[in-house]
Symmetry: C2
Subunit: 217 residues, 2 copies
Amino acid sequence: MQLNKKVNGTSRTSSREKEEGTEQKIIAAARGIFQRKGMAGARMEEIAKEAGINKALLHYYFRSKEKLFEVIMSEAKMQMLSRLYPILGGDDSLFIKIEKFVESYISFVTDNPLLPGFILHEITMNPEKISEQLIKKGGRPNLSNFFHQVEAEIKRKNIIAVQPEQLFMNMLSMCVFPFVGRPMLQAVMNVNDKKFNQLLAERKKEIPKFIINAIKR
Amino acid sequence: MQLNKKVNGTSRTSSREKEEGTEQKIIAAARGIFQRKGMAGARMEEIAKEAGINKALLHYYFRSKEKLFEVIMSEAKMQMLSRLYPILGGDDSLFIKIEKFVESYISFVTDNPLLPGFILHEITMNPEKISEQLIKKGGRPNLSNFFHQVEAEIKRKNIIAVQPEQLFMNMLSMCVFPFVGRPMLQAVMNVNDKKFNQLLAERKKEIPKFIINAIKR
DNA sequence: TGCACTATTAACCATTTGGTTAAACAATGC
DNA sequence: GCATTGTTTAACCAAATGGTTAATAGTGCA
C-alpha cells in the first residue's frame, strides 16, 4: 500500500459516469460533509458512501480522518484568504477598495455559503493549530497596507477618525455574518429564502454605501 | 427511577464544597462543554466528570444526551433573544435604541463569549428543529416595531433611505461577528488578546457612532 | 427501628466508529 | 501470457460512546 497519487491522465476504469478520479471524488464528498457536519460530526463511512467507494479506500488515499480533514480545511482557508489580501493590498483608492472587497467577498461566499461557518467553528474548536497557518497560507497578510491607507486618509481629512482595525472588523462582519447567522436571522426577521437571497445580493451595494457614508467627511 | 426534581431546600449530602445541588452542577458542566465542543463533539463522560459525578447519574437526571442538550440550547437561545427584543421593541428614539442595543449586546456577549458561536453552529446543523422555537422563546419577536420606526424616520427625512432589514443585519453583524470570528480576526489582524479585548470594549461606542453616521442625514 | 423513597455508583451492554487486513481485481510492462 | 504494481473491496478489530442495570448508601417519617 502506498500513498502515491496516481499519475493517470485519461485511462479510466470502466465505470460509467465519473471522469474525475477517485481522489477528487473523495475530496468533493469530504468537502460537503465536513462543511455540513463539522469535523466532530462527520463520519468516514458517510464520506465514503457519498464518494461512491469503500471506507477502506478512503484510508488508502488519506490515512486518517484528521489527514483528510486537514486537506479540506487548508483548501478552505486558502479560498477565504485569497480573496482577502489581494484586494486590500492593492493600489486602489480606499473607497474603491471597499467596494471591490465587499462585492468580491459576498459573491464568493454566496457561492460557498457553508464555508465561513465551517472555518469559524473549526478554528474556534482548535485555535492554535488552525490559525497558525492562517498567516502563511494564501499569501502573506497584507492588512498593514490597508491599515496605513486608512490612517493616511484620516490625516488627509478625507474620512473621519476611525481605528483601521475597527473599520476592517465592521466590513468583514457585515459581509460574513449574514451567512453564518442566516438561519437565525431568517427566523428572527421572519424572512423567506427568496427574500433573504435578495437581501444578500443587495448587500453588495448596500454595505459599501453604508461604510462610506459612515466614514466620509 | 423517576425524574422528579428534588424538593430539598437546605439539607445536603455530607459533601464538602458544593452547595448548589447535583442538577445545577450538571447544567453548569454541560453548558461549558457543549459550548466549547458543540453537540457532536461533547462527551457525556466528560460532562459527568466535570460535574464531579457518575455518568449514570447524568442519565438519571437527564434521560439522554439530546435531552440535556435541549436544556442547554433552550437556555442559550432565551439568553440571546431576551436582550434582543426588549430594547428594540421599546419606546426610545431610533438613535437611542441603537446605542442601548449595541451597548447591552456587546456587554452580554463579552460575558458569554462562546454563546453566539455555539448557537449559530447548532442552529446551522439543525435549522428546522432549533429555529422554530426561536420565535416562541424569549418573548414574541418585536422587530416589526423597530422596522416601522426606521421607516418612519426615513419618511421624516431624519435618516437616509435604508431597508430596515439591512440596518438590523448590519447592527447585529458588527456586534456579534467579532466574537464568533475572534480567533480568525486576531490571527489575520495580528492582534494579541489584550488589544483585542480593548477593541471589543471600544466597539460599544464605536458601532453606534458608525451606524448613526452611516444613516443620519 | 424499619420502611419507603431518592440519590449515587460500579459494572455492564450494544452500537458506532476510525482504522486494518488479506484477498480479489485491474492495468501495465515485458 | 504472466509477473508486477497499483486499486478496490468484504470482513474484521479495538476503542469509544451513549445508555442501562442492579446493588448500595442516605434520608425522612410512621
